[in-house]
Amino acid sequence: MLGPSVLFSVSATLAVFSTLMAMISRQAIHALLYFILSLLSLSLILFDLGAHFAAALELLIYAGAIMVLFLFVVMLLNPTQELPRKNLWLPGSLFVAFLAELIWLMPGKASLDAAQVINLSEVWVLLFKKYGVLVELSSFLLLAGLIAAYRIGRK
Amino acid sequence: MNPIDSINTEWVTRESLAGKAAEHEMLYDITAVDETLKTKLKEHEGDFTLVYHFLSLKDGEFSRLKLPIADAQTQVPSLTSEFKNANWYEREVFDMFGLEFEGHPNLCRILMPEYWKGHPLLKTHPARATEMGQYQLSDDKQDWLQSVLQYKPKEEGGDYLYLNLGPQHPGTHGVLRLILKMEGEIIREIIPDIGYHHRGAEKMGERQTWHTYIPYTDRIDYLSGVMNNLAYLLSVEKLAGMEIPARAQTIRVMLCELFRIISHLVWYGTFVQDLGAMSPVFYMFTDRERAFKIIEGITGGRMHPSWFRIGGVAHDLPEGWREAVQEFLDYLPARLDEYDDLVMKNPILKARTQGIGAYNSEEAIEWGVTGPGLRATGFEFDLRKAKPYSGYENFVFDVPTAHRGDCYDRAVVRIEEMRQSLKIIKQCLDNMPSGAYKSDHPLAMPPPKDQTLIHIETLINHFVNTTWGPVMPAGEAFHAIEATKGTNAYYLQSDEGTHSYRTRIRTPSFPHMQMLPLLAVGTTISDLMAILGSMDFVLADLDR
């Protein structure tokens, strides 16, 4: 395939645009929603590149877990909200674009399979053999974070 | 000592009230009487009498203090510093009579809405809607009425969430409104707003004859049917001074205990449903249906049979009642055991109810809690044992108690009470006395028909008794019974009329609900539902 694919172009545009919107939205929840859309688009880009594992993890961890946590915190801190937004075309069109991509993807999944898919075991071998030390170090970092959170959470 | 109901009665003054009141263990009831229209029973020249009832939990003896009030402008000393449960009772007196209490922390209307004009239990207040002119509700008026009901939280800082729970909410079992101030899911403050189910039952007592008021009592605690009749009739019968035949008493006891089971089954099912289990309520309603079959066979009615009469019951027991009752006695215990396995031993239910909404005996007495709510704290007090009425002294049964006083224990006590009720019914079945099912006292039933054809005096009596209804001798009578939710009492004053001069209904749900903030503050909404469920209140019992 020559040059960036259509999927990549649309996803990248979506990602950039929704990230921008996430920054300038006044309503915290709306900002989070744009951010989620941007993560979803990123995940699509990873799919397009053949990194299925990374794409699934992006969905699972970032879009699925961490953003729910963000949403939870924002909802908890800000139970009252401003007047409902009148302007619907912007989020609507972003959403429609994303949906169109997914629909376009459905029959095209054969081509996705044909693209250079990164083998899972390769990823693991790389992670635990070549970058083993790095993985260990980052897990230490996470552990430190966990302990710190526990300490703070206990008051 | 009042000769009619043998309750120690004392007149007090405004100064001596607090001192006299403090001698008593539990404040049972506060009410007032508008004296302005009295002719026969007039005991002082003032416009009002305040009547306080106290309960001694050692022997189940009641005592009464009466305070004469000259007019509506006179301030009455508040008992809120001596008794915590005086708060709502005094608010009710203020609401109903317009009497103001000195030193009351929050004297505002409780049953009537804030916009109500006048005080309903004054003799000058109309009793029927038709006496009040045509009712019209314009849009402006409706908006205004709505705005009065709106709760406007004071600006007090902090990130609180104000939640209006009810009057229409699936968890409140009726029209109860609770305003919750919450921090996340933790409740920081509860303001109960009651009165949505207020139907003026006490006011109706003043225009219904002694007999025709019986059906109204059924609808006070609408789950325990004839049990309400009993509380009312025992007071009326004291006024009339009549003896009840043994058979009538035993029939009454049997039906009351059946209704105790019926009421507890509804409580059981809805309590568990409040905790989110959907099946038990269906099982328990099936069982209840079986009990209703017996009630239907005996009385012809179901939830509100209004079957007791002054001096006895309406009919004798029908043929075949023994088999029906026996069948139920054989059926229910196994089901109760099964529910223990399904519900009470369930770890989720235990986690939801154990240690939730707990109080101890001292707090219970302070707040006027009676019935299973008191017994769950380990305090063994049951009017059926402490001061037996209607022949309860002849029955062998236990008073179940528990010791932690939490939601789970209240459930345990009620479930065991059902078993004890079955025991009592069994004894009724085995030892049903023969004889009359109704007293032959002239106030209880018209003179025998064959006599009316011979003596003109008897005919007149018969005519008067059936058209006007009986005329009770002047006096006051108070009687309390162990109802399903606590103790239920009727305080009646007769001015030698065909209807009561003042009917006061003291219901158990009222003080129990008053205690809610104490139990539920600091817990979550889920716990609040468990507490409400375990309290076993009925809105009509709360608001009357």
């Binding site: 594992f53 969905l59 879009a63 898919v117 | 989720i348 909404i525 889920s526």
Partner: protein, 311 residues
């Protein structure tokens, strides 16, 4: 040709089963609860189903003026979309799967995690305090149970040596995973109950506490989407359990998709039985149960499985 048939089957199949469940659950619950349930219209009362659907279609579809319109409409769509997308990776028979992906299991987990947004956003956008509380509860619950759900199936993935669901089914040819991965199954089952908001974990809609929780303000077809979406979720979880722990299409004889369907239906019925039996847990108890017991248990399960495999 098959490229079209399979996706259409996987789209219509779950929707049909889910809508049948609307009726089926009521009948089953009635069976458990000594009553009849809907038994009048049509054979066994099955006519209740089109009647209910028609009612749902013709009800006023009201969007409260105080709601955040776009999010309000988006939320029910997310429920249906994520659940139906997940069926993409479920293998019904050898080769009968929309996308035989190497990361199938992860995709399923990711999509069910995304499903959490439906409830959270519905709760938030309704601009109603009961809904908001429902949404808050849902987000905390989903966050916690997402983790255990993922961890509980890692043992299965380790045994099969792949995230590919077809491969996982094939790895169970000698012994279903339910035997060596019993702990994993129990955790997965509990997490599945929490993910689908079924009793005893129906905190987000707890009707005796929060009226209808996150969907209090929804009516008409949007409510219907939540309603059917829940059943699609149940179907999905049952199908996944059949695949992950009960050997998918494999049976003691005549292996084929019918075995898969039978297992799925039995598991769905177990969901109904659980609903009929248990009371609702409290919010904090649920979260505590998750983090304090299920989380270590899932880790332990994974550890033991790893040790056994590497032995």
């Amino acid at each position: 040709m098959m490229t079209f048939i399979i996706p259409i089957c996987m789209l219509l199949g779950p929707v049909t089963i889910a809508s049948l469940l609307v009726w089926g659950e009521r009948r089953l619950l009635a069976l458990f609860q000594e009553r009849y349930g809907p038994n009048r219209l049509g054979i066994l009362g099955i006519g209740q189903l089109p009647a209910d659907m028609l009612k749902m279609f013709f009800k006023q579809d009201w969007i409260p003026p105080f709601a955040d319109k776009f999010v309000f409409v988006l939320a029910p769509a997310i429920v249906m979309a994520t659940a139906l997308f997940s069926f993409m990776v479920v293998p019904i028979a050898p080769g009968f799967v929309v996308w035989d992906s190497d990361v199938g299991l992860l995709l399923f987990l990711a999509l069910s995690a995304l499903g959490a947004y439906a409830v959270v956003l519905a709760g938030w956008s309704s601009n109603n305090k009961y809904s908001l509380l429902g949404g808050l509860r849902a987000s905390g619950q989903m966050l916690a149970y997402e983790v255990f759900m993922g961890l509980s199936v890692m043992g299965v993935a380790a045994r099969a040596g792949s995230f590919n669901l077809t491969r996982i089914v094939e790895s169970q040819s000698s012994c279903w995973n339910i035997v060596p991965q019993l702990i994993g199954f129990v955790i997965f089952y509990i997490a599945a109950l929490a993910e689908t908001h079924r009793t005893p974990f129906d905190l987000a809609e707890a009707e005796s506490e929060l009226v209808a929780g996150f969907h209090s303000e929804y009516s008409g077809l949007k409510f219907g989407m939540f309603f059917v979406g829940e059943y699609i979720g149940v179907t999905l979880m049952s199908a996944m359990m059949a695949v992950l722990f009960f050997g998918g299409w494999q049976g003691p004889f005549w292996s084929g998709p019918w075995w898969f369907i039978l297992k799925t239906i039995l598991l769905i019925m177990s969901f109904v039985l659980v609903r009929a039996t248990f009371p609702r847990a409290r919010y904090d108890q649920l979260i505590l149960l998750g983090w304090k017991y299920l989380f270590p248990l899932a880790l332990l399960n994974l550890l033991i499985t790893g040790v056994v495999i590497l032995w």
